[in-house]
């Protein structure tokens, strides 16, 4: 009996860690989406496409380095920067003319952009499956709570909080971060005191997309880098942002943790119906807190 209890408790501990590590990827992507939603009020459906492009860029960078571990570490930096460059072009050429439009119009526009980016990925990289290999140090697994946990998941567990703290410091301790937060709350007032709101918006958009690209680069070693990987993540990211509170960075963290942990525990408790658990959690949160867990900036 005690042995069974110990096995169950170790499984709980294992699934808890695995769930949090998945939540870290979700957090990075949904934090970017939340930032754009908060500051620009743009429901960017193409955010998932930028995540996918980040994964493809990561593949290209690692391929250039031919399996050298340096390629992976550089990919984590370069892939999001490349996505940021793509998004800067998109923002200056297209988005900056549309901020005053209605949400429905913006939704349709970003949906069209998602389709265009999907086709561009097919043109540039083709339809074949691609894979990114993590460096040797992150391959294989460690035994924690008597069960194996991939080293890469532990790496994600370490990276997630670092990114969260960096985002917190950026938005609370830097001038541009504070302006972006102010613009999220009252864009007219920010404009009235002489700040060039257009460039604040541009910066916020690029930063949000950088996070999407970083999410894509981080997830690349664990999945097949392929067309269509944008679809699932964008649905999950929107759900997370909604339950966390629109535009609230910490809300994105809370939503990601709920999503990742309920998914992981769903597998442990009822593996045949594990798919349902995170969505059930979303429904429960929205029933109890229709505006999200934390304060929405909308």
């Amino acid at each position: 009996m005690e042995a069974d209890q110990a096995v169950f408790l170790s499984a709980v501990g294992n699934h808890f860690l695995v769930g949090i590590s998945r939540a870290m990827i979700l957090f990075v992507v949904s934090a970017g989406l939340s930032f754009i939603l908060g500051v620009l009020r743009v429901p960017n459906v193409a955010h998932g496409s930028l995540y996918m492009i980040g994964a493809f860029f990561a593949h290209s960078v690692t391929t250039v380095f031919g399996g050298n571990p340096l390629g992976f570490w550089l990919a984590l930096l370069l892939a999001p920067l490349m996505v940021a460059a793509v998004s800067l072009v998109a923002e200056r050429a297209l988005f900056c003319h549309l901020y005053e439009r209605e949400h429905l119009m913006l939704l349709l526009f970003t949906f069209a952009l998602m389709l265009i980016l999907g086709d561009l990925v097919k043109l540039v990289w083709g339809a074949d499956y691609r894979s990114v290999t993590a460096p040797k140090i992150l391959q294989g697994s460690l035994t924690l709570f008597s069960s194996p946990i991939p080293k890469y998941n532990l790496f994600l567990l370490a990276v997630g909080p670092v990114i969260a703290v960096a985002l917190y410091l950026f938005s609370n301790k830097t001038r541009i971060g504070k302006i972006a937060r102010a613009a999220a709350l009252d864009r007219e007032m920010v404009s009235a005191i002489g700040i060039n709101v257009s460039w604040v918006f541009s910066f916020a958009f690029v930063l949000g997309c950088f996070l999407a690209g970083l999410g894509g680069a981080l997830v690349a070693p664990t999945v097949s880098v392929t067309l269509g990987m944008d679809h699932d993540i964008i649905i999950e990211a929107f759900l997370i942002v909604t339950i966390g509170g629109l535009g609230n960075m910490w809300g994105a963290m809370a939503g990601s943790l709920i999503f990742g942990i309920t998914q992981s525990f769903g597998v442990l408790i009822l593996p045949q119906f594990a798919i349902v658990f995170p969505y059930l959690a979303v429904v429960i949160v929205l029933l109890l807190k229709p505006k999200g867990l934390l304060k929405s900036v909308w």
Binding site: Y129, G140, S147, T222, L227
Partner: protein, 412 residues
Amino acid sequence: MKVNKSGFWGIAVLGICAVAAVSTVLMPPAAQARNIKVGIIDCYSGPPAVYGKDALNGFKLALESINKEGILGGKIEFTTRDTKFKVDIALNMAKELVLRENVDVLVGTINSAASLAVSKTIAKEQKVPFIVWIAKDEKITGAQGHRYVFSTSENTAMAGKAGGVGLAKKPYRKYWIAGDDYAYGHAIADAAWRNLKALKPEVEKIGESWWKVGEPDLVPYFTSIMGAKPDAVIFCTGGASMTNALKALKATGMAGKIPSWIHTAIDHAVLKPLGAEGPEGVMGTIQYLFYYPETPENNAFVERFQKAYGNPPGFPAFNAYLTAQFIADGFRKAGAIDREKFIDALEGLKVKSPVGGTAEMRACDHQAVYPMYFGVTKKVPQYDFVIATDILTLTGNEVLPTCDEIQKARGQ
């Protein structure tokens, strides 16, 4: 009325022209040599595009030699439509190809649900032959089969039987079943378990887990399975999910601890991107391997394909190549571009397989018959990715349901 000489000749020429024009208009179209029109509906966007593209390349390669020779005085021409892996789009595209483009044969698709829908509502109702070339649902030529639908793809019954036969030879007793939560995943699971249980009644299923198609994070599923300590796992996944599953097998260390069987796990389309990091010891089944059997025909096929498209052919290319052969030889045997005569000609028709030998279109269910291979992944010095080794060849008749079973499934 008097007609002069030049007037007479003028009237004569006009008369001849009029007769020629009328006879051209009234001449029955069958009397004219024309091209055979094939309409292809398949997925060319999203993760399944890799298979749609491979099939299209196999089809084009086969047409190169077929069209050099010609068929009934004409050639085979084709037009493609992207279904985007959606049933409604597949139906609209198939309808458009039949009603507007007037295609003689419909071909496609990778999506089982779309194939079943097109088979039922377009092929059967419009009486157009429809050859399924990648979708694997056994209902296509089984329970829901009919006169107008054919398949050159292996189906879940064949894959399940091949897996069952291969696994029955292994010493495992306690199994866990896991896979993509959609029609294909469950169909493979049912077929594999049914056949394994029939061949080895003492096997026991200790649990199941199902994830959404393309699930990026399979680690919690795998750690949970490892905790249950089964002797072996039957994974029912495919496409992009397959790569995710193979990566998770390696990352969690499960590949070296618990044996697993996954249909098409030995497909190079999923193993090649993983390179040397692909997991070893994974059992898989498939109907085509570019490196096995090493026949002159297969080597020539691979060389031509590689030269034309830069990659070795996968199983969709093999299926599509066979499809083109069946279309060409079927119309040759029929002697006319006539859908009903073509169907009669296809039943029992044998064509040359690109790996050597022949493949037959079984008359009782319109299912192509060819061998299947059961192998285990392993690193070998010849390739920079893992390939199938210890290959066991199962003949087509060993893995196919019998004609009696098909009739029973159709309630006849």
